[in-house]
Structures are given as structure tokens and as C-alpha cells.
């Protein structure tokens, strides 16, 4: 009898442990409430609109990005709270990985947020040429009526019409406010090292390889990558894609229809050149994480690193004496194709449709869209502006010539099939499987595996 009851107890334990294993809530978040706000009882007329003066707590979700967070908590939010004394802003930030996606999902499902920052523009919606592709989160929310239609809000008129159309329009409606563009298909380079060895910004692939060789023969490690997180290395691969493909979107459409393949010479060329880049990288680049990358560059251990323009403030703050610039990775031997940087629309503010404080959430975005405030924001964030304003950053002004016409990068254009295998998953090109980083020896082998996974996932 004792044995049986012990058995039963153990069985219950097994069930409990097995069935409700490790749930993780949205803990670990950080709440920064503006501290300088005056008491909500103040009935003073602080320029408040028609919305009345009852105390309101505005819940704003954002991810951790220090320069932007600092601007929000130290400059913008206190300013907003001073103008509208009855509003207290609760600004929550979490790491910008899956944690943030999870936080957004939990909060929007619980209707426990007023404003959320989306990590990109509204891209990736299935097109007529991509049958069976899955809906991205923002589209699921827009279709379910969870995020507010801002089409008729007057503050949208502050922004360039093309940017609004490219970034936040869906079914003819604007569902958000996009705050600016970033580019990431270039390399940061150390100007002092370039001067020391009398190097010029390379205009073609051959010039680039010469430059890498010169640095190497002088005992300087040419390239730094944060391979452990994969995506930072993939930025460089996207640089190759942006300059080697004639038209990325046409090629992607072709993948869906079968007119182009992952094994096409142009795709093989990209993988092979990615392999060349890896061979000029520092030792252990596949073990380096994105957080450590800036210090490797700022301390002069490598001459160039692959990173996005958003990180320029970090480089500048790590080493104020560091002189650095940014140029597009020249994937092709035709200088004209290498002339432009590609990138993406970065963060987008969304208003939660069913929020009881919707009126105030709109006021918040209206305030932020005022050209004066918007300029301060892009200056802090290091974004390329969506309004015709002047930015202070010397860095941004220096790369302006590469931004003649804003080009979207591969991962903003690519739409994947559902349940696709690992060699074509996510944004589909995985040079990290190639030697020296991964187990696969040649570009041809990897391309064949990618094509196989892609074909297997074809819509039936």
C-alpha cells in the first residue's frame, strides 16, 4: 500500500513537472517612470487639449537601445509630462530580441499597453507571388483590429509621403508612425589605420580584396564580425547581395516561380565572396557576440567591422578619439552597382486601438512628430530622417552620398515559405554554414541544400 501511494505521488510529480515546465512571463522588464512630472492633482492649464485633466498613465513599450532610451527618459518624456501634467508616462524597455516580441504579444493580448514600438516597418506581408506565406505579427494585429488606423491623423503630414507609403501603409491605411531609416550593408572603417597604410575606400571587389590583402600583410586584422549572433555577420552578406544582384526583388519573385534558383551563378558568387570575407576575419569571429563587437573595433584590434549605422553613437561613445567612417561593401566589379547603401525602415510606433488612453497616445505621437522634436529624436537615434530635417551627426552627413535613393536590403524584401528547412530558413541565405565558420566546404554544396529545402517547402 505504501509503495503504491508513493508511486502515485511520484506519478503526479512527473505529470506536473512534465506538463507545466518552464513558463516565462515578461519579467525582467524595466520600468522608467518619468520622475519630474508634477502631481496629477494640479489643475493648471498646461496646454492640455480637450481630453480633460483626469490623471492618465500612458504605457509605452520599447526595446533597449541606450541612446534612444536616454533621449526618451531624459528629454522627451519629461517635456511631454510638463506640457500635459495629468499624464504620467510609464516607459518599459526589454532586450530587443525574442523577449521584446513576447512582451508585445503578451501586452497586446491583455490590452495592457497604449503605445508599442515595432522593430521594423510593416514589411513581409504575403504577396500575390508568394502563395501560402505566413502573416507577420503586425498584419495579424491590423487584421484583428488591434492597432489603430492613423491615416487621418494630421501629424502624419510632417513625414515624407513616400516614406509613409513604403513603411506603414497596408490596405490603403497607415497603421503606424515610422521614425526613420537605417542602413546596414556597409562596413565601419578605422580612418587612422586606412591613412597609415595609405588606403582608399574601395570602389570595386578587386580593389577591396587588394585592400584586405595589404592590411593582412602588414599584420593588421582586416575584418571583425559578431558571428555568434549570426545576424551581424549576415549584414555583410546582405551588403554583397545588394551590390551583386541586379534586382533583388525580381530574383526573389523568381525563387517562388522557379525562374531563379539558389544555385544560380549569381547566388554562388555571393556565398563564395562571403567565404572570402570570413577568411580575412579575426580569430574566433564566430564566437564573438554583438555586444562585444564595438569594443573590438573601437580599440583598434580590427580595421573594419560589419554593423548597422544605428550603432555609430556607440562607437563614438566607446572611444571619443576614434575616427571612423562607413562605406558600402563593394560586392561587384561595377562601381556603379556598389555606389549605394541598402537598409530598412527602423522602429514604428503603433497605437493600441482598444487602449482607454488612445486619445493621449495620439497626443504623444503628435508631440513626437513636431519637426523640432523629431529632429532631436533622429539625432539621438542616429536614424536617417523621414522628415525633411537637418541632422547634426557628422557620421550621417558623411554617408548621405551613398543614400541617393533609399534601397531596401534583402531581408526586408524576402518572403519565406512555411516550414522551410534550416538551409533556407529565415531570410534564406546562410553563409554561416560555410567553412571556416560552419561544416560545409563549398558554396555549391550549401546552395544545393538551400534549393532542396526551398523546393520541399513549395506550396502544394
Amino acid at each position: 500500500m505504501r509503495k503504491w501511494s508513493a508511486m502515485l505521488l511520484a506519478l503526479v510529480m512527473v505529470f506536473t513537472l512534465a506538463a507545466c515546465g518552464g513558463g516565462s512571463g515578461d519579467g525582467g522588464g524595466k520600468n522608467n517612470s518619468g520622475s519630474s512630472s508634477s502631481p496629477s492633482s494640479s489643475s493648471g492649464n498646461g496646454g492640455g487639449g480637450s481630453a480633460g485633466d483626469k490623471p492618465v498613465t500612458l504605457r509605452v513599450l520599447h526595446w533597449i537601445n541606450e541612446p534612444v532610451n536616454k533621449f526618451m527618459t531624459d528629454v522627451f518624456i519629461p517635456q511631454f509630462e510638463q506640457k500635459y501634467p495629468n499624464v504620467k508616462v510609464e516607459y518599459t524597455t526589454v532586450p530587443s530580441d525574442d523577449t521584446y516580441d513576447q512582451l508585445m504579444q503578451t501586452r497586446i493580448n491583455a490590452n495592457d499597453a497604449d503605445i508599442m514600438a515595432y522593430r521594423s516597418a510593416f514589411v513581409g506581408a504575403p504577396q500575390e507571388w508568394s502563395p501560402g506565406a505566413a502573416d507577420p505579427l503586425w498584419k495579424q494585429w491590423a487584421d484583428a483590429g488591434l492597432i489603430a488606423d492613423l491615416t487621418n491623423e494630421s501629424f502624419l503630414s510632417h513625414y515624407n509621403q513616400t516614406d509613409v507609403e513604403n513603411a506603414v501603409m497596408y490596405n490603403g491605411k497607415a497603421y503606424g508612425v515610422n521614425m526613420g531609416k537605417v542602413s546596414f550593408t556597409g562596413l565601419y572603417y578605422n580612418k587612422e589605420i586606412f591613412e597609415k597604410y595609405n588606403l582608399q575606400i574601395p570602389k570595386t571587389w578587386d580593389e577591396f580584396v587588394n585592400l584586405l590583402e595589404t592590411l593582412k600583410s602588414n599584420g593588421v586584422t582586416p575584418l571583425g564580425f559578431a558571428g555568434r549572433d549570426v545576424w551581424p555577420f549576415n549584414l555583410a552578406v546582405q551588403g554583397l547581395q545588394a551590390t551583386i544582384h541586379d534586382d533583388q526583388l525580381e530574383y526573389i519573385k523568381g525563387l517562388w516561380t522557379g525562374e531563379t534558383k539558389f544555385t544560380d551563378p549569381v547566388a554562388i558568387e555571393i556565398l563564395e565572396k562571403a567565404q572570402v570575407l570570413m577568411n580575412y576575419a579575426h580569430e574566433g569571429f564566430m564566437g564573438l557576440d554583438y555586444g562585444t563587437l564595438p569594443s573590438v573595433f573601437a580599440s583598434g584590434q580590427v580595421a573594419m567591422v560589419a554593423d548597422g549605422t544605428w550603432n555609430a553613437p556607440t562607437y563614438a561613445s566607446l572611444n571619443p578619439d576614434l575616427k571612423f567612417g562607413y562605406f558600402p561593401i563593394p560586392g561587384s566589379n561595377d562601381p556603379a552597382k556598389n555606389a549605394n547603401l541598402a537598409g530598412k525602415y527602423d522602429m514604428t510606433w503603433m497605437v493600441v486601438e482598444k487602449s482607454p488612453n488612445k486619445e493621449w497616445a495620439l497626443k504623444f505621437l503628435e508631440e513626437m512628430s513636431i519637426p523640432e522634436n523629431y529632429t532631436a529624436f533622429v539625432n539621438a537615434a542616429g536614424f536617417l530622417p523621414n522628415q525633411d530635417v537637418k541632422v547634426e551627426s557628422e557620421f550621417i552627413n558623411e554617408i548621405m552620398p551613398y543614400l541617393g535613393e533609399f534601397k531596401l536590403a534583402w531581408d526586408q524584401l524576402f518572403i519565406n515559405r512555411e516550414n522551410v528547412g534550416q538551409y533556407a530558413s529565415a531570410s534564406s541565405v546562410h553563409a554561416e554554414f560555410l567553412k571556416p565558420a560552419g561544416p560545409i566546404a563549398t558554396a555549391q554544396e550549401l546552395a544545393a541544400l538551400s534549393q532542396k529545402d526551398w523546393d520541399a517547402a513549395a506550396p502544394k
Binding site: R2, K3, M7, A10, L11, M13, V14, F15, T16, L17, A18, A19, C20, G21, G22, S24, D98, D101, Q102, Q105, I108, N109, N111, G124, A134, D135, P136, L137, Q140, W141, D143, A144, G145, L146, G227, R228, D229, H282, E283, G284, F285, M286, G287, L288, D289, T292, V296, Q301, E418, N419, V420, G421, Q422, S425, A437, G438, P439, D453, A456, A457
Partner: protein, 305 residues
């Protein structure tokens, strides 16, 4: 009857008061049903739907579709590889963790000088938790001048550690064992300390010492501790996703079935609760099979005094 006798027969008194223990038991039971068992049952229901979890969206029963997709979709191969890695992970962790823990527990069970210090030190990683342990080992295995890399360089080699397809998964196993060895050790120690001394004395007279004493006295006597440790480590290992999340994020072929449950539920770019629930159920059945088999096996080996 005197009062004391009444209390002995009816420890909770007579009448309504007799039901008090049951009423009190109802509280944890209700909490468990509400927050543990209930949601688990709902997961079963969800796994047969196409629910996205987004409020205001319609959802439908779609039968076994989510399960069929798991086993037959074009990336089913990757899923099977993940299941294979789950088994490898569990096998390595259960075996090494318990062997090391038992060895250390037997050592610490002798009255060593400073044994409290050793015990506390070995138990420390359990207290640190996943994030801190992850951070410690990321620093140890930092490829740019971390301590382990320096040692490797002395032997003329180097590694990408958590960014390497060859060693990342084995390193995760190592960290997992490092984290939970102290836990198993404590359970073994408790078992060891409950063994009466006179058993060894009697055994000694009969000629049992050293390995024979361990084999025929210690091991049978700590069998319940073995069962508990085996069960906990099998279930724990098969369910581990947190240390993978912290160290590699499932990259470099380190994803397991448990990781895929997490990724489907929280990591994907579109919300699909039905699919995630189905993978969760597959994971549950998977763990259950191994846990129940192990439990029956180890229970049989236990002896009662």
C-alpha cells in the same frame, strides 16, 4: 475518557472540525487545478485548433493537422534531428551529472575538514541560476582572450566555443551539468547520511569493505535517492530550453525539442498558438514516456527496510 485520549483519537476534534484538513487541502488543490492542471488541459484543446492567441480573431478545430504538420512538413527532418539532440542531451546529462554527483557526495559524506565549505561551493551554481551561469561561461569561453581560449592557445589551437557547430552543443551539456550537479549531490548526500552506521559495522565483520560495501550496502540504501535524482534529471534535461536560449539561441545546431516548443510559442515572427500547443503536447508525451519508464524501472530496484 480523558481529554488527551480524545485528542489522540480525533486529532482535529469532532463534528465540522473534522473536515478542516480537507478544507485546507482544497486551497492548494484548487490553486493547482486553476493555474497548473487547467491551463495544461486547455493546451490539449488548443493543439487541435488554428488559434493564433490574438484577441478577436476566429479560430477553428482542425483535428490532427498541427500534429501532421510536425511529422510530415518539409522541415520534419530538422525536427527529428532536434529530437535526436534532446535524447543525446538527456542521456549525457543524466549519466554524467549523477555519476559525478554520487562520487562527490560519497567523498563529502566522510568527515572531511571543511566539508561544509565544499558542499556550499559545489551547490553554489544551483543558486546562481541560468542567466548568471550563462554569463559566467560566456566570459570563460570568450573567443577573444577568454581564459579557456588562452589555455587552448598554449596547445596551439583555438575554438569558437558557443559559435561552433562542432562543440557548441557539448558545451551546453557541460554548463547544464555544472549548474545542476550540486542539486543531485545534495539529494545523494541526504540519502547517504540516513544510512545507519551499524550496517557498515555488520558488513565489515562479514568482510564487506571498500567497493563491496558500496555495492551491497550504500547503493541499495540510497536507491530512493537514485530514483528521485534520475527522474528529476531526465525530466529536467528533456525540458531544458533556458540554457540554450542564453548560450546559443538554438543556433549552430543546438536546438532541441524543448527549444522548438519555446521558439514556436514565443520566438516566431507570427503568432500560432495552435501549432505551439501541438509541439508542446508532443514534448509532453515524449517526456512522459521516458519519465514513467525510468520511474517503474528504478522503483523496482528499491528495497524497503
Amino acid at each position: 475518557m480523558r481529554d488527551t485520549e480524545v485528542y489522540a483519537m480525533y486529532p482535529f476534534g469532532k463534528g465540522m472540525a473534522r473536515h478542516l484538513p480537507f478544507l485546507l487541502l482544497m486551497i492548494p488543490t484548487a490553486l493547482y487545478v486553476l493555474f497548473g492542471f487547467g491551463p495544461s488541459l486547455v493546451t490539449v484543446v488548443f493543439s487541435f485548433t488554428d488559434a493564433t492567441g490574438i484577441p478577436g480573431t476566429e479560430w477553428h478545430f482542425i483535428g490532427w493537422e498541427n500534429y501532421r504538420t510536425f511529422f510530415t512538413a518539409s522541415n520534419a527532418d530538422d525536427q527529428m534531428k532536434a529530437i535526436g539532440r534532446s535524447l543525446y542531451f538527456a542521456f549525457a546529462v543524466v549519466l554524467i551529472q549523477n555519476a559525478v554527483a554520487l562520487f562527490v557526495a560519497v567523498l563529502l559524506n566522510r568527515k572531511l575538514k571543511g566539508d561544509v565549505f565544499y558542499r556550499a561551493t559545489l551547490f553554489l551554481p544551483v543558486v546562481l541560476g541560468v542567466t548568471v551561469s550563462g554569463l559566467i561561461w560566456q566570459l570563460m569561453f570568450n573567443p577573444m582572450g577568454g581564459p579557456v581560449q588562452r589555455i587552448l592557445k598554449m596547445f596551439g589551437t583555438s575554438s569558437n566555443f558557443f559559435g561552433s557547430y562542432e562543440v557548441a552543443f557539448d558545451l551546453i551539456i557541460f554548463v547544464q551539468i555544472w549548474m545542476y550537479m550540486g542539486y543531485s549531490m545534495t539529494i545523494f548526500l541526504a540519502g547517504l547520511q540516513s544510512i545507519p552506521r551499524d550496517l557498515y559495522e555488520a558488513g565489515y565483520i562479514d568482510g564487506a569493505k571498500g567497493w563491496t560495501a558500496f555495492r551491497h550496502i550504500t547503493y541499495p540504501m540510497i536507491a530512493p535517492a537514485v530514483t528521485v535524482n534520475m527522474l528529476l534529471s531526465i525530466i529536467g534535461a528533456l525540458q531544458t530550453f533556458d540554457i540554450i536560449y542564453v548560450l546559443t539561441g538554438g543556433k549552430f545546431e543546438t536546438s532541441t525539442l524543448a527549444w522548438n516548443v519555446f521558439a514556436a510559442a514565443f520566438g516566431s515572427t507570427s503568432a500560432d498558438y495552435g501549432r505551439a500547443s501541438a509541439i508542446g503536447m508532443i514534448q509532453f508525451v515524449f517526456v512522459l514516456i521516458f519519465a514513467v519508464t525510468a520511474m517503474v524501472y528504478f522503483r523496482k530496484r528499491e528495497v524497503e527496510l
